[in-house]
């Protein structure tokens, strides 16, 4: 058993280092057109459109690239997409208002935030149903799991705080006060710091996860939505400004503000950290940002009302 796990681990590291078997892709939820656009980032072209009803919003692609999980708040469902075959293979009734979604690094658990219930649902993808509930603060939105899989963070928007959950016991072990109305939450690769985009106070809270406290605050544009990390910098979508605010992760000093499409929302960095992908809700497009040069290098049309809230890149 241990040998098998080790072999799988070596294989996955090998794949990561020598190039994956697929080109990197964006799985973009189009909330108003009720579908998902798959965009090949190497060719900058949409390669598939997958119908998903119930106003799809949140999305999380598994680290092995096999599945994408999509939340539909209006259908109260989590849709399972085969990312390779590009088709829907399952639909799990989760109830409430599913919004944020995150997957454990080993793919064995999927976490869904219930916007209305101050709870996170734990889904076992093998049996395709909810197997546990975790109590968190009001209106949980963004979710993120540390790379070792031990901690789950929930941005509890209407509680102005972040819940730190032990994934083994499925219990909240800490509550961290942050700025006003945290929406997206992103954890760095080392699992040391987390960043929340605070829609109400127009800033980002920097969290020391081990110490379970906020250690810094970064001013952003209006109504920040989510944060991506690359090249030692944080990239924040400013919905009302149509910009991405860039700041230095060490000094927390502002670096630049980049114009993108209108109402930018979901944001993520490619595996090599060289590109930042942004979903523009109003413009119906994704913007591609060169994370080194800090400029927009492309814009690709997708469906209506793209949100791409979560880990939407198949890397």
């Amino acid at each position: 058993m241990r040998a098998l796990v080790l072999a799988a681990l070596v294989a996955s590291i090998g794949a990561a280092m020598t190039g994956r078997g697929w080109a990197e892709e964006a799985f973009v939820t189009n909330q108003l057109s009720n579908n998902l656009t798959v965009v090949d980032l190497a060719t900058a072209r949409p390669v598939a459109t997958i119908a998903i009803d119930g106003k799809p919003a949140g999305v999380a692609v598994t680290p092995d690239g096999r599945f994408a999980y999509v939340t539909s708040p209006d259908a109260k469902a989590l849709t399972v997409v085969d990312a390779v075959a590009r088709r829907v293979i399952g639909r799990i009734d989760v109830g409430g208002g599913p919004l944020g979604v995150a997957v454990a690094p080993d793919g064995a658990a999927v976490y869904v935030a219930d916007w209305y219930a101050a709870a996170v649902r734990v889904i076992d993808p093998k049996v395709q149903r909810v197997i546990a509930d975790i109590a968190v603060g009001a209106s949980p939105s963004g979710l993120a799991v540390t790379s070792d899989g031990r901690l789950l963070l929930s941005a509890d928007r209407d509680a102005d705080s972040v819940s730190v959950i032990d994934t083994a016991t499925r219990e909240r072990r800490a509550t961290i006060k942050v700025g006003t109305r945290p929406f997206g939450v992103t954890i760095d690769a080392e699992g040391r710091r987390a960043y929340t985009a605070n829609v109400g106070s127009n800033d980002v809270s920097v969290i020391d996860i081990a110490e379970a406290r906020e250690i810094g605050r970064v001013k952003t544009g209006l109504r920040p939505y989510a944060v991506a990390l690359a090249q030692g910098r944080g990239f924040v979508t400013d919905q009302y400004d149509g910009t991405v605010t860039v700041f230095d992760l060490l000094t927390l000093a502002p670096v630049k503000r980049i114009n993108v499409g209108d109402y930018p929302e979901g944001i993520a960095a490619t595996a090599d950290g060289r590109q930042i992908i942004v979903a523009n809700w109003e413009s119906n497009s994704i913007s591609v940002i060169d994370a080194v040069e800090l400029k927009v290098t492309g814009e690709i049309k997708v469906g209506d009302g793209p949100r791409a809230f979560g880990a939407f890149l198949r890397r």
Binding site: L32, D74, G97, L99, Y116, Y240, W281, E282
Partner: protein, 180 residues
């Protein structure tokens, strides 16, 4: 009609208890309406470009506010039936003839939406002779929870905003083209 109003009233009471300023549904809606006006862009801008004067929108009887066209300028619109709408300016660019504002307070009985932000933009029309005026909005339905009553649904929100924008654009076209 009486039943509808009563149920809306009950919902409004519930919302007041929950604090409606921030709570919203899971799906933001968008509306984009535009109109061609037979007048140069500068003339159209002269009518709409003052955030402190929304007399061109049919139900508005009074505009009162602070800070002119500065960012974070505020205004209170009073409607014909006495209801009010509070708004705040967050983008203003006279060169590009565009500005954006958000609604900071409105009763869902007046407009069945929450967390609205709107943008007005004047551009030269395709033939270069007149203007194109666009009004775009992003907002959530009036009911912040699951399973909204019909009058506070996504569809009701889109219909109300779309109707308001159309009425405003039609009135502006008439006002400007008639030279009044």
């Amino acid at each position: 009609m009486r039943t509808t109003l009563a149920s809306v009233g009950a919902v409004v009471t519930a919302l007041a208890v929950m604090g409606i300023a921030w709570a919203h549904g899971p799906t933001r809606q968008k509306v984009r309406e535009s109109i061609e006006i037979n007048a140069p862009p500068a003339k159209v801008w002269a009518v709409i470009g003052n955030f402190q004067d929304m007399s061109w929108l049919p139900p508005v009887t009074k505009t009162e506010g602070d800070k002119g066209n500065a960012i974070e300028a505020t205004r209170r619109l009073t409607l014909a039936d006495g209801a009010t709408v509070d708004e705040e300016l967050y983008k203003f660019d006279a060169d590009k003839m565009t500005y954006s504002y958000r609604i900071t307070a409105v009763d869902v009985k007046v407009l069945p939406i929450t967390n609205d932000s709107s943008t007005l933009t004047v551009t030269p029309s395709a033939d270069g002779k007149g203007s194109s005026l666009e009004w775009a909005g992003a907002f959530y339905r009036g009911f912040p929870n699951n399973d909204p009553p019909p009058e506070l649904s996504d569809e009701a929100a889109v219909k109300a905003v779309s109707g308001l924008y159309r009425a405003g654009l039609d009135a502006l076209k008439k006002k400007i083209e008639s030279g009044s």
